[in-house]
Symmetry: C2
Subunit: 216 residues, 2 copies
Amino acid sequence: MPEEARPGSGEQAKQYALDQLRKAILRGEMSPAQRLVENELAEQYDVTRASIRAALLELAAEGLVERIRNRGSRVRVVTVEEAVEITECRMALEGLCAAKAAEEATDAQLDELTGLGDAMSKAVGDGDPLTYSDLNHELHARIRDISGQQTAVTLLERLNAQLVRHRFQLALRPGRSQQSLSEHLAMIEAIRARDPQAAETAVRAHLRSVIDVLSC
Amino acid sequence: MPEEARPGSGEQAKQYALDQLRKAILRGEMSPAQRLVENELAEQYDVTRASIRAALLELAAEGLVERIRNRGSRVRVVTVEEAVEITECRMALEGLCAAKAAEEATDAQLDELTGLGDAMSKAVGDGDPLTYSDLNHELHARIRDISGQQTAVTLLERLNAQLVRHRFQLALRPGRSQQSLSEHLAMIEAIRARDPQAAETAVRAHLRSVIDVLSC
DNA sequence: GCGAACGAAATCGTTGACAATTCTGTTCGC
DNA sequence: GCGAACAGAATTGTCAACGATTTCGTTCGC
């Protein structure tokens, strides 16, 4: 355990604890369903229990941890059924974002998407599923940002955070990258054509295929 | 101010404070952008400041209040632009719910929707926009529930809570009820026909028209 | 030997006080 | 008269201790 003191004293303890905890959960450093005891975390991160408590409350609102009255907190375990539900919601919301992105993207932004597509093609060609997975995530994030739909962006970021554990599984399936790649390229092409309807359809088709892979 | 003591001592103070505050905000008892001072609220609801604090944190996560570091909390003011964004997200998510509802509704549930439609027609015929607005809300809620998509239901409930203030405005526009009614009846008809595609389209058309009314 | 009541340990919920930050009204210098 | 520095008040953020609830191991009765 590193137990390093936190850097700037001006930094707020609760925010620090929140960031550290979220990072740890997203990195998968907490095993699923692991108990999160407030006292232990307080000592580990060198903040008071009240700060940990506030952070855990916020993480619970984000859906990353589960709190049970007088019984403590655990990292939330997302079942396959929930992962499917979450992906269905992503389908709806990312479809919206893609349509708006197709309408509002600047030429520079379109070039950026094209570049991402090329990098993804290369990663698949090189047989590098980890890099591909990262680029995959970056592409979805860029489309969200380009849409300018702040409400949808916030919702999607929360939803995605809950899927970290299922993402690994998905990325490493043999043959998955190839299919995924063509779907992603279709998304990019539709946005480049500034065709909202086609962009939405492409994103939905892609996430539909993610759901199919998830549920088997 | 009633300043009544809370009923069961076994009830958790934070939960009590959270419920009371949420209710007060949803009822519009807090004027927009009103400052929410932790000490005042603590005294008003007869709980400690820590409980109020935890409740405010949770409400902030729900998007009902806004917190600024060292400056306090206010009830969040939803601009028209944000209301449009929120309604766009509703369009995506309620479209999903309607499609699933069309697939999974039982006969009894379909009858219930039909009954709601009849009541809505009657309310419009009677020129009773308030009752109509309530039924409107109930219909959307029932469709959500029937879909069984718990993730979408949770997201939608949060989004809807943020729109309370804009709902009144909308309901009282002259002639609005008639158009809204026909859109709602179309939604019900599509679900009764167990046609997911049509149901989604109908819901989207309805919310698209809500957006049009909102933005002018 | 087995189940139910009991008690100790662990953990969360709550409390009141203290420290840090921000805002506001005032005064000083120009 | 006007803007900047300053002190005071108000408010939030943090802390350590106390009280309540749940859990788990133990013992008692049958």
